[in-house]
Symmetry: C2
Subunit: 332 residues, 2 copies
């Protein structure tokens, strides 16, 4: 068997927003397997904002340098195996990267995925879903009637957190970048209110919509919005620090809100890294799978076809022009 | 009875550090009591850094304006009563303010203080002690072997937190402003290590003393040190945001550390306001009184004589030239 592997590597560091020109397509022959290894064909690749942080060398995982294959989580099908742990045809979750084939030691693969829509293992039932669940349910512990504010409200993490907050009986206010997303947040995801940050003054709208303050802020963006929300926290607020999209494209890290704001509101602020919650993934799936099956937890997936188009999809994601969880469907 | 009350009022806003000239002494006759009221003679007045924040109008309690009597907690003796709740000679804790006599509705006084050293109700067994206990024990929950860093390590809150952290089996590193305080922290309070920030490079010393990172930071100062510590947190660190001495004398609030630092360390950050823990004061006293009685929890008190000298004592406190908990002993 002599399969051709298409790989997307970093070509150059982006100055600010990444463009497709920052990436290069390489092709090579797939290696032979060693004992204990498994050959996987990529079905879906997950594209996520944290990858911009990896390129900047600031993510807690390894940095990515020009010439390196781009990292990424995939749902992949086992097509050849020299391990007794997996059979041909098993569909698994693995760190396949931005490529059409990947070889793994069998220990690096997840258990076979059994639910009928395998892409969900990268979205609502995958890392974005687990991130939302860990931050909102395990860390913030929402109570009925509390006010929850979620930026990037229709993205993979935000959409899940918003729906979970509604399930918990909260008033949920989203923040998005377009009227189309605002409509989607309210009409499809069930947000009580949603602010279009490109058409409205966010601080004023927060004052109107949260007159008694904000109880929970699920921060996915950092930057100026984190300051604005921090001045509007209710007593006993919880802030989940999870993402920093506002600064991923910058060379410098931004400073945080004045500590006095968090003292004043007696806030509890949690730094969230989803990898810490990997041991509790099954607990999360057990809680959310029934909701997904009953249509009570939804996820729009923004699917681009072809690994060669991953750089375009990533640039679109980093411009905020995605609609839901960004995935690449690999066709070979 | 026609008693003369000496009162210290704010005269003018300090530009930066307060000086005695920012305050004025007023004298007046003590009023007659109404039904349900109690007349108290001040024994000890507590002076605390948060008062600088009240003068700046930024504290969560009411602001203090020129002409206003300075607020403050006191240990006072009941010398006249029109309430059945208290008897002459009772020693109580109350918000007596910077004055030699104060009149209160009986409901505003604490239960009579029974332990033999009443000034302790303003120091190790009072608000500074409760602050330290709430932040370190209830919020941060120290575990044996963890590394705890405490700035203002010999002040009222810091000294208590440091000793409690030692009791919990932690490695405790203090930061102080003089060699004399450094010696005191190590030799009397039992700190494992102590950094003199005016003689050593704090960041370098933290690297040497905490090679595996800092597990708990009890922040009493804010400012640049909070940034420096935040870059050195261990995974799962806890940060107690309690005081902002570094900025109390400034007109502007400083920004906080980059949120990325707290994400990276999966920190939990707690805003601490001691008033929230008032319902648990007895629990704290029950835990600490035996330690105080057995000499396992100590507090040096820096006592100035005479209410007229309170402005000098406060200026000295805000310059960091106090040695232990600052109190004024009122003599009439």
């Amino acid at each position: 068997m002599s399969l051709i592997n298409s790989q997307i590597c970093l070509k150059s560091y982006p100055e600010h927003l990444p463009t497709p020109e920052n990436f290069a397509l390489k092709q090579s022959t797939v290696d032979e397997l060693n004992e204990g290894e498994v050959l996987c064909k990529t079905l879906f690749l997950s594209l996520d904002p944290y990858m911009r942080s990896q390129i900047a060398g600031r993510h807690i995982t390894a940095p990515i340098k020009p010439g390196d294959l781009m990292f990424g989580e995939t749902v992949s099908e086992v097509i050849e195996t020299r391990s007794t742990q997996y059979s041909k045809g098993d569909v698994v979750r693995c760190m396949g990267g931005w490529q059409s084939y990947s070889i793994h030691n069998a220990n690096e693969l997840s258990a076979p995925i059994l639910h009928p829509q395998p892409s969900y293992a990268l979205s609502i039932l995958g890392m974005p879903g687990l991130t939302a669940y860990a931050g909102l349910i395990w860390q913030a512990q929402p109570k009925r009637g509390e006010v929850v504010v979620i930026p990037a409200a229709t993205g993979g993490v935000g959409a899940t957190a918003g729906q979970l907050a509604k399930q918990a009986g909260c008033k949920v206010v989203g923040i998005v970048g377009s009227e189309e997303k605002r409509q989607y947040a309210i009409n499809e995801l069930g947000y009580d209110e949603c602010i279009n940050r490109n058409a409205e003054v966010v601080a004023e709208r927060l004052d109107e919509l949260c007159p008694d303050g904000i109880n929970i802020y699920f921060d996915l963006v950092g930057g100026e919005l984190l300051h604005q929300v921090s001045t509007r926290l209710a007593i006993g607020a919880r802030v989940i620090l999870c993402g920093l999209v506002a600064e991923y494209n910058n060379k410098e890290r931004m400073q945080g809100p004045a500590p006095a704001l968090w003292i004043k509101s007696r806030a509890t602020v949690f730094g969230l890294v989803v990898y810490d919650f990997e041991p509790r993934r099954q607990e999360f799936i057990n809680a959310c799978l029934p909701l997904v099956e009953h249509g009570e937890l939804k996820m729009r997936e923004d699917i681009t076809l072809g690994i060669e188009n991953a750089p375009y999809a990533f640039a679109k994601l980093m411009q905020g022009n995605n609609h839901g969880k960004t995935l690449v469907k690999v066709v070979v």
